[in-house]
Subunit: 404 residues, 2 copies
Amino acid sequence: MNVVPAGVTPTKAAIRREAEAPQSLVVSFGADQPLMMDAGVTLSPVTIAYQTYGTLNADKSNAILVCHALTGDQHVANPNPLTGKPGWWSTMVGAGKPVDTDRYFVIASNVIGGCMGTTGPASINPATGRAYALDLPVVTIRDMVRAQAMLVDYLGIDTLFCVAGGSMGGMQVLQWAATYPERVFSAMPIATAARHSSQNIAFHEVGRQAVMADPDWCGGRYLDEGKYPSKGLAVARMAAHITYLSDEALQRKFGRKLQSRSAPTFSFDADFQIENYLRYQGLSFVDRFDANSYLYVTRACDYFDLASDYGGSLAAAFKGSKTRFCVVSFSSDWLYPTSASRAIVHALNAGGASVSFVEIATDRGHDAFLLDDPEFSATARGFLDGAARARGLPPPPDQTHAAS
Amino acid sequence: MNVVPAGVTPTKAAIRREAEAPQSLVVSFGADQPLMMDAGVTLSPVTIAYQTYGTLNADKSNAILVCHALTGDQHVANPNPLTGKPGWWSTMVGAGKPVDTDRYFVIASNVIGGCMGTTGPASINPATGRAYALDLPVVTIRDMVRAQAMLVDYLGIDTLFCVAGGSMGGMQVLQWAATYPERVFSAMPIATAARHSSQNIAFHEVGRQAVMADPDWCGGRYLDEGKYPSKGLAVARMAAHITYLSDEALQRKFGRKLQSRSAPTFSFDADFQIENYLRYQGLSFVDRFDANSYLYVTRACDYFDLASDYGGSLAAAFKGSKTRFCVVSFSSDWLYPTSASRAIVHALNAGGASVSFVEIATDRGHDAFLLDDPEFSATARGFLDGAARARGLPPPPDQTHAAS
């Protein structure tokens, strides 16, 4: 199906298609169910694109909500319709995997402000018949979570067995636990922070300025103009991508190795493998992500400061929480370093919550949460097993005999 | 004096003026003295713009060459002719200061590839009558040092009492010590590395791509076209600037403080002080630096790998050196971290050189070498004092009596 309106450049037609008619499950909420936004306005209608994996049990007690990171989406464990690549967390989610779809019912939705079918800046604004672009209100992490709660309501689920996610997904996990403590039995915030640091904001601002510096951004109206700010968005992605990897990992993977040549060219070509790699990351990103969405999701992270809604006390956000937490950080993550996870753990302890904390030793940096790591997998599996016992869920199929 | 050719946009006229007719001392080398470049070509004519401070003594044994960093220049201790601000190392260089111009004769030249009067991409190519732009051969750190040696020869100086510099300036210091060991009595490489890491290259590549993504870059021919890639260069500077500051310093200075408002605007304005600061850094940079020069100086750093010229052994680069070294790093510098300085120190020790090493405790990140820091000042002063005694230079004026 091709729903690209006449006049839109076919170059980015696939992005437009997924934004408007996603290859995904979809639920739309009409005028009777507007989304209340932190910006002080309501959004309506609201469409949420989502995927599910596994089977919801009879008492609806085995649902895990997986929250995606900045440029992730709902395609957690199935091939991505835009890239054809495996889902972004297919190492973790699937039959027999740590988030075991033979045991749990997994839900993942595209965030508000995203571009994979949930209402975002590339969606049609019913008031104008054109894409919202920057007319969409600025979105916050709490807005994303409110929308997810509408989806969870729609699915008839009262309490989520677990909410899990890394990076921006981890922010949503923390927001869920703070806003809907009675609806979150367990929570796994991974490689994240309870507030965006000054350096975090700085890197995001560079990315936004790179997009907005591109004349093809057209003040955000590039879809109307049949243009696309590919160069600016690619630069934004390149800068961001450096922050996802550790210095050590870059040195180990690329070092100063030259790209398909034995001597430097003394030019501005991509002499070094790292240059070639970064250029590829930039180019491939613009084929799968909407530039305005990039502005919205980065802004949502920047505005995130959970304590600010609780008189500046993060502990107050979790006071009296009965949710079981497992906080995970990665030793070489300098974007959301272990110190940021420790701050969460301290606040949870101060708030009297049940919390375990694991720092995974790795040189792979922030992106480690997306990669196959035995210690991380074992941590997630162990935590969910323990929570499942506490929740009274049956043991996994292959342990049924041993446990009976 | 206005030497801006007709047709050149007046917007960046001041940059063009300093490139062509600098407010600085200038020496030009003609066809009989071409610069041999690592790219395998010669460059001629070559102009070097420089400044000196203090007085060269009779036996020419008190000269200190100060090498500037990426976007620095020869205006070490006098007001900058473009910005009107104090020279970039006026905290360190001057009468009675650690690099004491009452005692030492200080030389500082703009690097080859720069834009403050030394031959660079904004200089007129005599073969075409137009600016070189990307027709200038790619420049290396060794090319910069070869040009400096021509200047030192011209000044009639055989042995430099000291070569000192931070960041890219520190690379030049290391290159001087390796290429001309007998001409360098002492050396102070500061906040630097003997080779550019993969992450270092990555950040520079982002900056170059940001410049080249700007349509006003015009394939490097913006001067001919009367344009200037201000937006791209500003984005490049913003990204780079983050790497010059530590996470801690950003959090201390800016944190999540809002800019002249009490609540977020829920927009893409510069809500946060850090955003406003970064935008200012980007905007002010484009008024003082040539975009093509930015490509050249970043590329020179990327190509820097001193050991590669010595069979992969950094120790071999310094084998048998009689130069006295003082290596300085800053604890919160993550661009050229202390580990990179330690690698230099290990190589110097392995090569049998005389070396002292100081890591300055600070939260101010890489830029600490440009800032007033009592421990850093005392380190530099102490090292130069010791070297001066070994060199047989008279004590500073106020110590003459006590020492006699």
